[in-house]
Symmetry: C3
Subunit: 261 residues, 3 copies
């Protein structure tokens, strides 16, 4: 039997929202340790990795590891019905073909429960690289969202370069060229406004703006985003969920010669 | 001659908004007592009943009962021009083919006046049942709105059941099943957050969610909605307008066997 | 060389927004005195005139008069990337085919720079009439915006009449007739809520509501709009930019007989 109760159910809603434009059907892997997702996006371009520790839950019981095969558009529709302050409960029998979701609101005395059909989804075995990176940048997630949204006006590809000067996002297209530079900034009072750049050597890579934009759907999960780059390796865009988990996206760089137009 | 002046003209605007998706052409019946509407919706499925007492008005004069035949989409367009704090004046001669509407704003010194062509609309004589009901529920109108909006995701039909447990809204469809339970709740400080259930015997009826949703356009008129049900009878969804009137909707239950799919 | 730095870059953004639905390609004329635009709208119906004095800028250097030929939809896209509190810098070489735009935000440490291709646009020589007008009205720009937006529901043409009674906007169509009267109003505490009417003789003219609506895109630039009319002459709709400039629109009146339907 699996049963998990999350006082701030909204966290789970935000996790669903952060991946539902990338993935249609997904396995949530439940173990005694955590809920976890690891899968490629529908177009097999990006990799999504999610973990939410059992310690994030008020109550967590998982007798046997199991995979909940879910259709995310349907899950997302059900989470639209979750109120801002609702508690969420997930329940499934060990060999069940149904997931029970409950949203409770003590204040209004409302209880909503849903029975969602589970699906058998073939699991992919994916190795996520865990190498040290040459550059690691921490910056406000809202700024990152704004930059990759805005740069879409200039072109389809974003060059991200990390140098001593700072972290630079560039795009070129018919209109002209645009560059946005974030400098290291640890001066402001709020820690979440800080920009910290930890660079071993400069790195410059190109990425599809379309995908960077998909990733920023995770912005509500965390005030801070962590960006990691090494030459020739996929970029990591990580949104920490308090100290309880994360949503991470991996995206391979574009080769400048053949992919740019 | 008919002349009526409403300091809070916005009430009338909200009444128009509450019915304009259900009805195209409508007679507003003016008497010495009240302004009233009673008519079936365009598809002849639901019945709408509105009353606004003469005591709601700062000035009210109606020499002879008369019916103002109005095209609601046009009326709605004109009310879009009403400011938040405008006073409204309605005027018509006894045998006139025109309605005069005036919106006055003392603060900005603006006066807007409109001349609207009246139509001859055949009046339906409708008897509204006034029987005692087995269940009568009072709940926050915004919660009712949220529930019937949200449940549309699950299916087209909503089962409403009133039992000792509370008032339950259920819908089933391709995704699965959803139930939302409102329990009696008189604990919160604000009276408008209360849920009170007055039940003589349990009732369970099915309704088209599409119509329940139309009815919730009246939500801005009242913090509270009153729901009345008896086996086999149309449900009543009532939005009281302070102590000065109401908008009520009547909808016949669906027969479970032939209408569900 | 041309270089101009505007601490409140948002003013320039609002100027671009105020004209971009009327004009596609435009010359910004830079002199030692000001930045200026003077051109007909794309349909050659209305005339747009903009001036922003060099004293509006923190730094202003213009060695030689030059015209920057810009495609406004592109400029507008770039200004979408400007943050609320950004400083703007414009830079161009004397015979350059590129304009450099920079948006700086000291708080977040962000610098965005854009290189925009310049175009050769044939300059029109336009004489703007500078005659005294029979009526001059000053009113809140937001009220003017609301009135011309709302009246579109009634018809395509707006009759504007200035009399002793006040300034009246009227439109007639299938629904009926609507009149909105603004009376002189100097009572309210805030000066920007005042309506002042300076009338030598009554004037009544008809205008295309579509165009009046385009003009109200300048509303964010100024709390007050100044309207000037004389019989048979184009109306002037002026939005002062603090004491540093203006955006003005000129529109010829419609002849009542042949243009109304």
């Amino acid at each position: 039997m699996f049963e998990a109760r999350l006082a701030n159910g909204n966290i789970f809603k935000m996790i669903v929202e952060s991946i539902r434009e990338l993935i249609v059907d997904v396995n949530i892997d439940c173990s005694t340790e955590e809920l976890a997702i690891q899968c490629m996006d529908s177009a097999h371009v990006a990799l999504v990795s999610m973990s939410l520790s059992q310690s994030a839950f008020d109550h967590f019981r998982c007798d046997r590891s199991l995979s909940l095969g879910l259709n995310l558009p349907n899950v997302s529709k059900i989470f639209k019905m979750m109120g801002r302050d609702d508690t969420m409960v997930l329940k499934a029998e060990d060999s069940a073909d149904k997931l029970m979701l409950m949203f409770e609101n003590d204040k209004s005395g409302t209880i909503a429960d849903f029975e969602l059909k589970l699906m058998a989804i073939e699991a992919e075995q994916l190795g996520v690289p865990d190498t040290p990176y040459k550059c690691s940048i921490s910056m406000p997630s809202s700024e990152f969202q704004r930059i990759v949204r805005d740069l879409q006006v200039m072109g389809d590809t974003c060059k991200i370069s990390c140098t001593k000067e700072g972290l630079k996002f560039s795009a070129t297209g018919q209109i002209g060229t645009g560059n946005i530079l974030m400098r290291q900034n640890v001066a402001s009072e709020k820690e979440e406004d800080h920009v910290t750049i930890d660079m071993e050597e400069p790195v410059e890579l190109n990425f599809a703006l379309r995908y960077l934009n998909f990733f920023t759907k995770a912005t509500p999960l965390s005030p801070t985003v962590i960006i990691k780059m090494s030459p020739g390796l996929p970029i990591v865009i990580e949104y920490p969920i308090e100290q309880l988990g994360h949503v991470k996206y991996y995206l391979a760089p574009k080769m400048e010669e053949d992919e740019e137009e």
